[in-house]
Symmetry: C2
Subunit: 451 residues, 2 copies
């Protein structure tokens, strides 16, 4: 049976890729309301595709962008829920793309385009896995339920709301998620931990208009300087976060994790080499991999204020804004961290300016028990699909809905990533290996048989 499935995938490889290109052409940028129509069109394409494969499929309206739901019975009553997202990050900076972000382009076995690795390519591997099982065996080995959301990249909560509402009906035995990475291009991986997040933006307002820095310089506070001073009061040059009690609840590394990380022989120079960065940097006293996987961060995602065009303009800006996000690790509680950050920023912001802070977008970190049988079944499926041993890794990113699954559904969540960090998710020239797409499709099919 395994051979028949692999053969079917191989025979249909070109068509699978053409269909993935169709899916990637939708600019389903959920953070930008001007793309709401494109986002919906992408969801409708998926529903039609599932229906063509024989699944019962529809759009679920839980507020915000629609959720794609598709379902098919199987030989066993075991229900595997596959989660993914069809929305994508904004494409900017557009001028840094070497191919159009929404016209998928293949070069040397790599498909380039926004959403290729995050998350359309990974989601579509599971769709094609279900097709392959249906076409080779006539029915699925177990019941499969797809829930594909359209707000992952914009911090929306439609999927979480739907899961909370429908949890008694959804009732999966396991949730499978492919929205993370392999360890490297040859080593598949199961992600047993994700960082959480607390993100927000704040604006420091000074004079009600930009004013002449000669006439007013020395007379009033400079909002851009205040923003810089606040940020510098949050993170020290040695990478330590200065917010009081920020690190209180960070879990120390377990011995097996330290051993496992040592075996992975993470290469600092290879990590930064591709980025044109001289050397890694982060919280003093920790290795690079530990900092990315198991330590929290506090990052500026964007900053702006005053005159930013050609030439100089000698003004004191009316305001300055910064977009910030902290990555959180077990057992940091996002609400508590948000409160600590807000309190700290308010305490260091002088009363010579006005501070406006947005609500925090929050997501708790998650950590799974790698001894769960689901994880062992996944190791076997990956071995079959990729012909290689998998490793257990953590991921520095956040998948907000995973913690909702953990809380609401009470079943194991299997994070079986098919991408690579170097694929450039969220960056220009995002891409995805077609080899990983095809092997991932096989692994996803085997998983439904072994789980």
């Amino acid at each position: 049976m395994a051979e028949k499935i692999d053969a079917y995938v191989n025979e249909n490889r070109e068509r699978f890729i053409e269909e993935l290109k169709e899916l990637m052409r939708f600019p389903s940028i959920s953070a930008q309301s001007k793309h709401d129509g494109d986002t919906r069109a992408c969801a409708e394409w998926l529903v039609a595709h599932f229906q063509k494969l024989g699944l019962e499929a529809s759009l679920v309206d839980a507020g915000g962008q629609p959720i794609v739901r598709a379902q098919a019975k199987g030989k066993s009553a075991k229900r595997v829920m596959v989660y993914g997202h069809y929305d994508v990050q904004p494409e900017d900076p557009l001028d840094q793309w070497q191919t159009p972000p929404f016209e998928p382009t293949i070069k040397n076995g790599i498909i380039y385009g926004r959403g290729s690795t995050d998350d359309k390519g990974q989601v579509f591997a599971h769709v094609k896995a279900v097709e392959s099982l249906l076409k080779t065996d006539g029915e699925l080995p177990c019941e499969v339920l797809f829930l594909l959301e359209g707000e992952e990249e914009s911090g929306g909560d439609a999927l979480a709301r739907y899961v909370r509402q429908a949890k008694d009906e959804l009732k999966p035995d396991v949730v499978v998620v492919s929205d993370s990475t392999m360890y490297d291009e040859k080593t598949p991986a199961i992600t047993y931990g994700l960082r959480g997040m607390a993100g927000f933006e704040f604006t420091v307002k000074g004079p009600d208009r930009d004013v002449h820095s000669g006439a007013y310089g020395g007379g009033i506070a400079n909002p851009a300087m205040v923003v810089a001073q606040i940020m510098a009061a949050c993170v020290a040059p040695d990478g330590k976060i200065l917010i009081p009690h920020f690190y209180d609840d960070v879990a120390p590394l377990e011995p097996w994790e330290a051993e496992s990380m040592a075996k992975l022989a993470f290469d600092d120079q290879a990590f930064v080499g591709e980025l044109n960065v001289a050397r890694p940097h982060g919280e003093a006293g920790f290795g690079t991999l530990e900092r990315i996987w198991m330590r929290p961060t506090f990052e500026i995602n964007g900053i702006y204020g005053g005159y930013t065009a050609e030439g100089a303009k000698t003004i004191i800006p009316a305001s300055a804004t910064v977009k910030v996000s902290a990555r959180l690790v077990p057992h940091q509680d996002p609400s508590r961290i948000a409160k600590l950050i807000a309190e700290h920023i308010r305490s260091v912001c002088p009363d010579t300016v006005r501070l406006e802070m947005s609500d925090f977008a929050m997501c708790p970190p998650v950590l799974f028990d790698v001894n769960d049988p689901t994880f062992r079944a996944a190791q076997e499926a990956l071995r079959q699909g990729f012909g290689a041993e998998s490793v257990f890794i953590r991921c520095g990113g956040s998948i907000p809905v995973v913690s909702t699954f953990v809380e609401q559904l009470g079943c194991p969540v299997l994070l079986m990533g098919l991408g690579l960090d170097s694929d450039g998710p969220h960056s220009p020239n995002e891409h995805f290996s077609l080899d990983s797409f095809i092997k991932g499709t096989k692994a996803a099919a085997h998983l439904l048989r072994t789980i």
Copy 2:
């Protein structure tokens, strides 16, 4: 004679204003190369206008934007050179203008538009003063030479270059400049000191593209955070500039200056009230007026990096840029200060990022002896024009070319400002009082008779 001049100005008030509107319609934004044509057209309009008044006028090409030169003989051989600039600041933020920046609009005796106060309105008062003298007396009381530059707002050096080249031919007995302010709307003023400037921008470069803050957060330096940390290492929250040796050469206040400032009874709340700012802020230990006039500053004029559009994007920015300028006071040397700033920034910038710094735009501070007879003659002219006693003030702004006059021409430079800081030069809704324009025209005419 004085009465005849005043009567002529009063009779021709409406036409003078219409002509000023014509001059203000040119978007002569010297910092933006796309406006080079408009800048030149503005200069050509002025040449034609001077010629119509009977002056010998032409454009001088000294590289960069053209200089308007206009000249007329007079009864005495004394030569008064009038300096001003016809270029203007960029108009952005455009959405904050209540009237179009380049369509002058009059409301309640105030003319609104870019360049109204800085510097077209002030320059044009001198032009109309010359017209009034010629029309009432047939000839000028002394020789007048206008030099109006087109690069004041963009830090160009064509005028300075020309003055250095032509100094043996120019040879004025006095230079008159109206590009500063009155003390308040009822009190004309003579400015005896200007701050200098050292301005530049720098970019901190990290990864060669924006990268995912989950995958790379904690792994590499964040360029926007580094920029914030560098800025915070330049200015303390109490307003003190932290650059080593920055204050070394700052001249202390003279006793007469302290007395004179005390008499002016500067109102902190009135100063910030119109700006919607709670209270003044600046270097600890100094009063607001002293900080604006006699203390140096270090300001962020603009800052940008990473994702700045709608919503959130969880990235580490590839780079972040900041535009900075320091206002300097006697006897700070701009070259020395530039060197101190550059050294300090290089010393605090970590080697985990790449630092790119532009050349500094520099201008020395100036200070005049208020006992010079020229200053006393100007007090009389202002008394006649405005019907009020003038005061001696300093100005927090910089007029780069004034220090060139001081160095190259060796004659007194009279700064007779007609504007107000609250006119919003460099801001949206820049404006100029038509009453000041008319009284300033009279004062400028009387000045040529009394000087």
